[in-house]
Symmetry: C2
Subunit: 721 residues, 2 copies
Amino acid sequence: MKNLKHIFEPQSVAIIGATSKEETVGKAILSNLLQSNFNGAVYPVNPKYKSINSLKSYAYINDIVDEIDLAIICIPTLAVKLVIEQCAMKKVKGIILITAGFKEIGDQGKKLEDEIIEIAKKNKIDLIGPNCLGVVNTSNEIKLNANFSFRMPRSGNIALVSQSGAVGVVAIDYAQQQGIGISKFASIGNKAIIDECDVLDYLIDDDETKIITMYIEDISNPKRFFEIANKAALNKKPIIAIKTGVSERGATAAHSHTGALTSSDTAYDALFKQCGVIRVTTLEELFECAKGFTCMVEIKGNKVAILTNGGGMGIIATDALEKYHLKISTFDKNSLKEFKKVLPSTASFTNPVDIIGDADVERFSDALEIIVKDKNVDAIIVSVTPTIKTDMNAIATILCKYAKENSKIPFLANLLSFEAEPTFIKILEKENIPNFDFPEINVRVLAVMVNYYNWKKLPQLKTPIFKVDKDLVETIFTKLKKEKRDYLTEPESYAVVKAYGMKSLEYSIAKTVEQALVSAKKIGYPIVLKIVSPDIMHKIDVVGVKIDLNNDDELKKAFAEITDSIKSKRPKADVHGILVQKMFMQKGIEIIVGIKFIKGFGHLIMFGLGGTFVELFKDVSFRLAPLSKQDAMDMITETKGYKILNGFRGQGPYDIEAITDCLLRVSQLVIDFPMIKEMDMNPIKVLEVGKGALVMDAKLVWEEQATEKTKIKTETMVSAH
Amino acid sequence: MKNLKHIFEPQSVAIIGATSKEETVGKAILSNLLQSNFNGAVYPVNPKYKSINSLKSYAYINDIVDEIDLAIICIPTLAVKLVIEQCAMKKVKGIILITAGFKEIGDQGKKLEDEIIEIAKKNKIDLIGPNCLGVVNTSNEIKLNANFSFRMPRSGNIALVSQSGAVGVVAIDYAQQQGIGISKFASIGNKAIIDECDVLDYLIDDDETKIITMYIEDISNPKRFFEIANKAALNKKPIIAIKTGVSERGATAAHSHTGALTSSDTAYDALFKQCGVIRVTTLEELFECAKGFTCMVEIKGNKVAILTNGGGMGIIATDALEKYHLKISTFDKNSLKEFKKVLPSTASFTNPVDIIGDADVERFSDALEIIVKDKNVDAIIVSVTPTIKTDMNAIATILCKYAKENSKIPFLANLLSFEAEPTFIKILEKENIPNFDFPEINVRVLAVMVNYYNWKKLPQLKTPIFKVDKDLVETIFTKLKKEKRDYLTEPESYAVVKAYGMKSLEYSIAKTVEQALVSAKKIGYPIVLKIVSPDIMHKIDVVGVKIDLNNDDELKKAFAEITDSIKSKRPKADVHGILVQKMFMQKGIEIIVGIKFIKGFGHLIMFGLGGTFVELFKDVSFRLAPLSKQDAMDMITETKGYKILNGFRGQGPYDIEAITDCLLRVSQLVIDFPMIKEMDMNPIKVLEVGKGALVMDAKLVWEEQATEKTKIKTETMVSAH
């Protein structure tokens, strides 16, 4: 268990590489630390100096008599290993390794980094970096600014963890400009020892942090991240994250449809959804959302009241409500009556409430008095354009009064000022009223809050455990292993599907055309023929499939065509026979359910409606196994195709229960058999409500080595729901 | 012809209602005007004063001996009419009417406003307002700040026209904060005389304005707007607009599918697309885009090079390129060779070029020297995170040097600073290099620029004139008028379709079952029967349609069912007979083409693929008639369904030429017959390439009064293409 207190809350700090030379990291770190009035002792370490900035300088860390909690290292790369050994001797507890030139530069650097990791681990030193910017703790009791780029940020309750130093600098600067306060900052660099999960874990228990923001390029351990993020949700700390690398999609070739539609970014997306992490795409959104959550009110619905003195601003807000799927409150009749009593006749009473350009603070107060009492109001946005009549400080004070008296309704302000640092911001902050530059930002932030609190309120639906024939599947995979095959034949796939309680069409395997004729007679025309061979994955490419055969003659002709084609195109294929199946004509809709194993994440499960929905609109959803029932339901409802499943223009409704069931069974299958690498059940025919679903075709690719990696998952991954 | 010179460039200004009383509009206007050092004479008019702010005050405007170009009126509503009469006597040329309380408050105010309009028109006074904030001209020769809310904005080449005073205030404030310079500002209020088109017309010829931004709630005269916007495109002045009221969709009941999918907002969207106006949804985007265009470089492609000293910023920019459909330049081999020579080995040479944290100005210069020479680079984004090594002024200077030497490549900067007003901004401005806060903004602005310049480069495809049978359609409408019907029967609709050169299925009308049997024999089974009655629009609702009839018996039964049903459900309907039509089985894809008349705009034409594409995904496109060939092509290609038309997974390709032809013919039809109110051709079956398209069903609703309103359109609406 790592202890990040040594990093964030040290009593004593040694700066190895401190200097007074201009334009150096050593000088920047020292002066930032001193300027922040750090509440502990600072020890510069540099053999070239006797003293730096009036502080005694030590040649080596061992020369310091007192205990050292934290060593900050900013010396040339090649000297780092020796210095860390010295830190170990000194029994330093934590290290911030600023120096770059390790893993990020290639094999040479990787080797050096591995050596350092070994020393740190052996000596139980908690190390952050290398190749990082440093850390910050704005707490009044600590005041630690141990970074080399920016001055101490203003204190507040938002923490930032950044994998990129540059982004950290930009983000902190932006927060500063926007008047957003920071509790802790950590630049985690190469993540040699301490990674994002360790910092998250620390922040969850940190009283000064209420909201956690992250810049992520990759997560070292997605499964641990899932656990910790769930813990954050229970501790009521929203996590808002940017995860970059979206453009790295589809780099690897895939065997299946599902494979082609998934990427590591899809896996991140599913991970975030399943543990309630709010994913944003820009730094602006990151801090906007964080600022919104500082109001600390669990919004109870999506009905928004807008109060403004500028008609145009009200219209902009209303358009934004539509765009972000929030509702504009319809006021109670009584409210409208009350408005008439106190507002001028030229005001607009229906939401947005426009109390027009000559509104003064009393009029704002009168209107708010009525709005807060209306039961159809879940949140209030107040947009004030400066006029000759607007005393912004007085308006801010009134907002605070109403926010305090109505602590279950979030108040979001959009007070505009011509000054760079208006005083009303400070007034609003006292009651945690976030203020934004434009009404559309208020709305988009509210939308994020509504979604987050809705997610938190979802019932804790457990993952059901189905009774299945695990042994049968075990047997199939053992056979596969023996035969050194990596994918299942169609009958084997059907067997797996069936063993896990999903229905598929009946079939038989014919070795000869005579057997096929007998089967067809039993099944009844029309029928379908398909080649069965462990060597042929893509049957259609080799004329291995014939459909809509209506009589014996057509069957005979098709049988011959398939066998001839295979003989010429795949003469060496091990042919098990030809599958004879009923041509399914029952009314239904085609869906696709697929699986793809993603290194580090386990199995990603995909759902979508078949045909153009998947292929053209990419209307598919993803979650990681194991699925909770809620996950399975979310996967279905979040696709656009859901409308059709649920009954649309004379089609359906279809058996959505059967789809949920199917998703959960597939989830159980991959948890039981983590060696499954890819799987497509495409199409699955979903029948009308109550009539179930039938797997019409299934492809399954297997890889022995996947096993170890996912085993952990089944033990640790417990959904918040 | 209005002359806005009197408003924007007056030599002498009278302020009627000027005062020294605090918190009044009269005082605010006067002090703003004086503080801006207006280059003309200011005459306060107020009988209560002898002098105000050391200026002689006049009791009445007529007391002023000199000529008055512009009168600014800020007095109580009820006194306005009299004062405008006095202005007319004084032969004032222009008026800014600040006072509110007119049309916006209801009928009483509307009456007053109409009276004022009459006086102004009679006396040829160009009047802006009422209910407005005023106007601004930052030109060094004028320096007119005639508004009551904000100080003189910094001068620049972006003009802003705002229909909302409040939004004007917010926008100007935001521009000021962002360091964006304004050329002209106009708050147009109720648009009694001068509307957005008049201001646009003036701004197009204004040398100091290079880019026009607008906040629009409604456009008074869409057809004139189209003309003027085209003129702006020819003058190379991009227009960027926010149009609010998106949430007012679908307010009216519609007869047709097309009707249900259109709204006035759809019409605005089409209008903007057809005249190249860049539509944005937020004030941030408005000014971001405007700032981007200040670089005044016609970007020639979509390949972008990114240069940065912070890896994370490069990744954010790359993700944004994917999101906004731009390409990351693939560098020439030679460039890579050159990079190796000058950059450290730890730098990343492939785009984004990451010259790492210790990069100084020389390294930026070395990298740029190579990038600008690479032929695969259409635009350059330079993202610089401040470090100990970054001398931002020096880097800005280097950027300017390269931008100047490479005037055909837009340079967009993302230089970050911890200061509120960094000096490098001024350096960048000299070479028109826009600087943004985050790299993702640089990218989204570039995307807008690429789209705009691509639009400008489109060939000028003329609207073809087809040879059609106009007389036949004339006859049908005359009949309709006589019979006081407002929609056509199906045979009449087919006749119109045919008269305008589109193909539909052959049919015949049977009065008796015997006639139907004869027809069926001639046509050949399977056939379709449909009731024909001017009183029945929705045939299916009354069992008026029977499909897939395969023999005489089925036909007889179906015929009886239809006639029985009509007798019981619509006993009073005037039945013309039953339509006998071939059941069409040929391979093809269904599309929908529709028309909806929108007041003020003329006819909106809709295109989309049939079925779920239209109904679920709302995958439709709109343009206003008359369509140019380019418009028709754009309508098809901008839908997602285009991929299917063009050949997708074994389907198609379909006859896209036939769709273009159909759209153009429909366009000609509504131009010839503006009384068409709504029309659905749904479905049209599009066959494979070269085989044409067949109208399978058509509904047409007609309204006599539509005529006058669209006539103007046909005369004036000439597309830029």
